[in-house]
Symmetry: C2
């Protein structure tokens, strides 16, 4: 196994840009990553793209935007974890000596999905009557709100504690020029926003949006030739599993617990040494669950963890300095790589006003497909360090 490093990271501002062709979005993010890496596009030996709804052959079309052809190009779909799966394959390809330089791109133009009628009737909710729960209204917010309610019942977690997560993440995004939104909300504003699925109010739910992000990976040995600030991949785990219904015990996502443990074991670095985490806060409830499932705090203490500011700047670990899915945005296929971009930029110390001081170890957490209908999902955990 060769040690793997990220030598370039780039993204475009998330937002609603239905006219921005997905291949161009991906190409633009890729060019920024390549520029930061200081290498020409033709140095790339394989491209791994994560995307849900902008098929076909998006990786090839992104390569085409850069004038690159004739290399293996893979398109990965793993729901919200699509580009995390792409990243893992790129890391394996480099570590196993299949390629020396690989490009990973996450892209999603969701507003085009919607224009095509795909979201809602399509991929985000399973067709075929295979998902009786979803057919009957158990969509993503409903699934998480039930989990939140169970957490409140089991541990005395309050609706306001969930709300505080939205306050934190929206506040963080105000300092992130790449975020879809840059608006600060008070707890009162969060709690008073439109109810989506009790206890989830609107500002506690991630938006629809478009975006792209890219990273360039190579061997640690090569990395030192290209940059004085390489970021090393300490662990990259992708697994799958079902969401454990609360009837089976305290609410948790078992696949997260096992993937995180595997990642910590591989890295030889535990959660207590992580400086920042970009995690999958599709809804505030998922961020709170992840505090516990990632071992940032004990099971049941997520409410206290946010209330005491331990997941904020000045706390134990900065969670979602980017603003997270809640406010940076969640163009699905882009999310996994965008999380990595944020973490890499912090480890490189280039995050300006939102910089996590002295960041040395970062973690990304990305779960795809957990929620309604007890469908099996994909869970990705990646650790990087200076």
């Amino acid at each position: 196994m060769r040690e793997v490093a990220v030598i370039g990271a780039g993204m475009i501002k998330f937002g609603k840009t239905p006219e921005y062709a997905p291949a161009r979005m991906g190409g633009d993010a890729a060019r920024i990553a390549l520029e930061q890496a200081g290498i020409e596009p033709n140095r790339i030996e394989a491209t791994f793209c994560g995307n849900i709804g902008n098929a076909p052959n998006l990786a090839q079309r992104i390569n085409g935007e850069m004038g690159v052809s004739g290399i293996p190009a893979f398109n990965h779909e793993n729901a919200c974890a699509s580009s995390s799966a792409a990243f893992r394959q790129a890391v394996l390809a480099v570590s196993k000596d299949i390629h020396d330089y690989a490009l990973v791109v996450g892209v999603e133009n969701m507003t085009v999905h919607i224009a095509m009628g795909v979201v809602g009737s399509g991929p985000l909710v399973l067709p075929h009557g295979a998902n009786l729960e979803a057919d009957n209204g158990m969509l993503m917010p409903a699934g998480f709100s039930l989990t939140g309610r169970r957490h409140m019942h089991e541990f005395g977690t309050t609706a306001e504690q969930f709300g505080l997560i939205a306050v934190k993440n929206h506040r963080n995004s105000a300092l992130n020029p790449y975020a879809q939104y840059q608006k600060v909300f008070t707890l009162e504003e969060v709690m008073d926003s439109r109810m989506v699925s009790d206890p989830l109010t609107l500002y506690q739910c991630c938006p629809i949006g478009d975006g792209a992000a890219a990273v360039v990976v190579t061997t640690a040995e090569n990395a030192r030739k290209h940059t004085t600030r390489p970021v090393f991949v300490r662990g990259s785990v992708l697994t799958s599993g079902k969401y454990k219904a609360s009837a089976e015990g305290p609410p948790r996502i078992e696949a997260c617990v096992t993937a995180a443990q595997e990642c910590y074991d591989t890295a030889g670095i535990g959660p207590e040494d992580v400086d920042l985490v970009e995690l999958h806060d599709c809804f505030t409830i998922h961020e709170l669950l992840a505090y516990e499932d990632l071992g940032l705090c004990p099971k049941g203490e997520g409410g206290r963890f946010i209330e005491e500011g331990l997941s904020d700047y000045g706390g134990e670990v900065v969670v979602n300095p980017s603003g997270g899915l809640l406010s940076k945005g969640h163009p699905i296929g882009a999310t996994g790589v965008a999380q990595l971009v944020e973490v890499v930029w912090h480890l490189q110390g280039v995050c300006g006003e939102r910089q996590v001081a002295d960041a040395k170890v970062g973690l990304t957490h990305n779960g795809g497909g957990f929620g309604p209908g007890n469908e099996p999902g994909a869970m990705s955990i990646t650790m990087v360090s200076t």
Copy 2:
């Protein structure tokens, strides 16, 4: 690099089955492959699925059908080559000691795509105005018909020679119980069927359909423990490239020429030693092009090759004994693995009436996304042998 073998291959009958949930289709094909391999589903360490339109997380849902969870599961989209890309990643994972047993599944329920309005307005034709040619009618049949016309102009190929390919493949499919169609047509019937895009008549175009196929791969060393008829992977190449317009020389798909050469070089086995080929005859014209691009005959002689019966039983190499995409069917994500299943079964000698006698070396050819609009496509070539 560890040597890799296929130890089980399975598929379900192709057809139009809108009520058959994609995960169940994939699970049914996988169970047949696992049964042939003689291993339990929980022996699988990773699942690689190829699919275009039945997202999200189809690999996880297929695993769920078999009661498998907690393993890495990847979903690949590479247009028609989707499950070929999945297969290549599985082969690399086994050869590079990442996994010992991997499941590869190709699935597509296209009739559900159509019910959802996705095919036509969706993935199979690029949205975003990015593809001016397609917007103006240069759909797949039109792209190939222009190529065919150019071939006729350059080499004197006749419309009837293209038609003979449809006659052969429909005749082959009549002996294949897994084929979507089992109907024999005369050349006259092929030529008299409805004109789609001159010179392509209806029976020279592959149908819309649903299907699934699966293979189990492991190391050559393990393979011998499980079966007396392992099939060894001699080469598996995935590349990308643009279709070369005829203005740049005789019609050919450059990525096919280079991928085939790389595969022959890796295997140390040339086209002259191949006993059967399953190739991407989405339209008869593509089969004729592939004869030449794969080196089965010299450039320009594809017409003669089919007319003299050299791609038929009793000829030099049996091409598309399954009936090919034209008549076995072309449920997009299923196609790559289904080609492998057919070739593996011939090498195992279990193909009954359509068995290619004494088959020892088989090739699959699968191109995804070549055609209209000069979009970059994916090209997969795989060689297997007894």
